[in-house]
């Protein structure tokens, strides 16, 4: 009985979710038609614009942004994990370097975008560097906290069995830090998207940020909304994949539920 009631409740929530999700574009469409203002545009026009773009370079712009995010994530998270693990387990080095890293992190990272554009030009490089740096810091701080908080009893237990330092690293410190690394990655993904598009908006020849900036400069609201819709889709995609990765990597935690 109870589970049936619960299932019915779930179904009701699902139905309402669809109703609300559908009503947003409907209200928007109605507002656009009634006002007739180009500032409002309508979902219909946005859809048509997306279709028009689809055969005219949309794939290029999307892949440009995704490439920047993927490369930046790979570089930034690798460095972040390695530095975090190393500093988390080396007290002296951490004492020396951590305050310096914190000081560097207190610069609002997005404000570095103009600098990188001047240094690396209008290609993908400034975005890749920006994404790498943003991801590096977020992953570094989390991995550091994780490596520092590894249960010393587990480390001692492995050492007593005869494990070498490398083996303790591979079998205890690494896996124990995964929870923290994933946490950092989940925070870093949306920021990676922000960093990539911001860089593109400030100066580039491609990417969703470029589309967005282009539309804004031409006061073309329909294109602007279309670019935002793509960004939203990318955001949902990245956070969704992060959640999946987390569920898989941390299956030993969910096992008990």
């Amino acid at each position: 009985m109870a589970t049936q009631a619960l299932a019915a409740g779930d179904r009701m929530i699902g139905v309402w979710r669809v109703v609300v999700a559908l009503s947003i574009p409907l209200v928007w469409e109605a507002a656009g038609r009634l006002s007739g203002s180009p500032w409002v545009s309508t979902p219909g026009l946005v859809g048509l614009r997306l279709l028009a773009w689809a055969s005219d370079g949309l794939v290029f712009h999307i892949t440009t942004t995704i490439e920047e995010i993927a490369t930046g994530l790979a570089l930034g998270s690798t460095c972040g994990v390695l530095c975090g693990l190393a500093l988390g387990r080396m007290r002296v080095l951490a004492g020396i370097l951590r305050p310096i890293i914190v000081a560097l992190y207190s610069v609002p990272l997005i404000s570095l975008a103009p600098l990188f554009i001047m240094l690396f030009g209008l290609g993908q490089m400034p975005q890749i560097v920006l994404v790498s740096i943003v991801v590096f810091f977020l992953i570094f701080f989390n991995t550091f906290a994780g490596a520092e908080s590894v249960d010393e009893d587990l480390i001692r237990a492995l050492h007593l069995m005869g494990a070498s330092r490398t083996e303790v690293f591979r079998k205890v410190i690494g896996p124990a830090s995964v929870v923290w690394i994933i946490g950092g990655l989940k925070v870093a993904l949306p920021y990676a998207l922000v960093a990539a598009t911001t860089g593109e908006m400030l100066g580039s020849r491609g990417g969703i940020g470029f589309l967005l900036n282009n539309a804004a400069q031409q006061f073309d609201m329909t294109s602007l909304y279309a670019a935002l819709v793509i960004l939203m889709a990318l955001g949902i995609l990245t956070s969704g994949s992060a959640t999946r990765l987390e569920t898989w990597l941390l299956r030993w935690r969910h096992a008990a539920q």
Partner: protein, 271 residues
């Protein structure tokens, strides 16, 4: 293998000579263990009993090389212990299972190490045998978070026994088990340690457990810990752990040990 067995028998496996240990707590020095002398022969099973905080775990930590003595000497095979003592298998009070590994790979972790090269297939066979031995068949692929406290203890026991350390240090290994399961585990431990001629230093609160397993029982006093009495267990071995506690020798030894222990327990409680 054919070493001089007389010389080997003469050197105690574990030896504490005037070993004491102080701890610093909130700027105050507290003596946890007064200087004590204790020798454990090869293949001997020694149980340490005493009130909480009498330094039983401190002794194990010193033999494992996790702590050094403040004064005196702790030797293993006649050599002072410097750094971690990798000849011992240490089953601590807290089970230190790796939460991201399932039961089978937790039990097998010691066999993956370079210091113990072993083909994967052999390791898997040993793991399967161990799982059967501790009664965890069917739980191979469960994670520690899915197990009860007693099951986790059994995993920890299997993980320690699987690589056959020559010496076992056990700190209340069966405290979390229910009475019936505890008897089963006592039986298995007795069988294994005799079969493999392991030297065992076993901390417990339970006099019955101590008498059932040990060749000698060491009664410790309340903090600061010292040895109050050492009794040999004159019962014929191997014994039936399920019936031993109803024999007259068992009862009289239990009573004698309890007489030694009871003052210490009451002293321990007002600390």
């Amino acid at each position: 293998m054919q070493r001089n067995s007389a010389a080997e028998a003469a050197t105690p496996k574990i030896q504490l000579l005037g070993a004491s240990r102080d701890f610093e707590a909130r700027g105050r020095r507290v003596q946890a263990l007064q200087p004590i002398d204790l020798s454990v022969k090869k293949a001997e099973f020694v149980a340490l009993v005493g009130p909480s905080g009498c330094g039983k775990s401190t002794i194990l930590n010193m033999v494992a090389g996790l702590l050094g003595p403040t004064q005196g000497r702790v030797a293993y095979d006649g050599q002072p212990i410097a750094g971690l003592n990798r000849k011992v298998g240490y089953m601590t009070q807290k089970d230190t299972l790796l939460p991201w590994r399932d039961v089978a790979s937790n039990i097998g972790v010691a066999l993956e190490l370079k210091c113990r090269p072993m083909p994967r297939a052999d390791a898997a066979t040993k793991v399967a045998q161990m799982i059967e031995l501790v009664g965890l068949k069917g739980f191979e692929h469960h994670y520690p978070s899915e197990l009860s406290g007693g099951m986790r203890k059994r995993v920890a026991l299997a993980r320690t026994l699987i690589y056959e350390p020559e010496t076992l240090l056990m700190d209340e290994p069966f405290a979390a088990l229910d009475a019936q399961l505890r008897l089963v585990m006592l039986d298995q431990l007795q069988f294994l340690t005799r079969l493999r001629k392991m030297t065992v230093l076993f901390v417990t609160h339970d006099l019955g457990e101590a008498i059932t397993l040990a060749d000698r029982v060491v009664v410790m006093s309340a903090r600061p810990g010292r040895i109050r009495a050492i009794r040999n267990v004159p019962i014929q071995r191997p014994l039936d752990v399920f019936k031993a506690r109803f024999s007259p020798e068992f009862a009289s030894l239990h009573e004698a040990l309890w007489d030694e222990l009871k003052d210490e327990v009451t002293k321990g409680t007002d600390l």
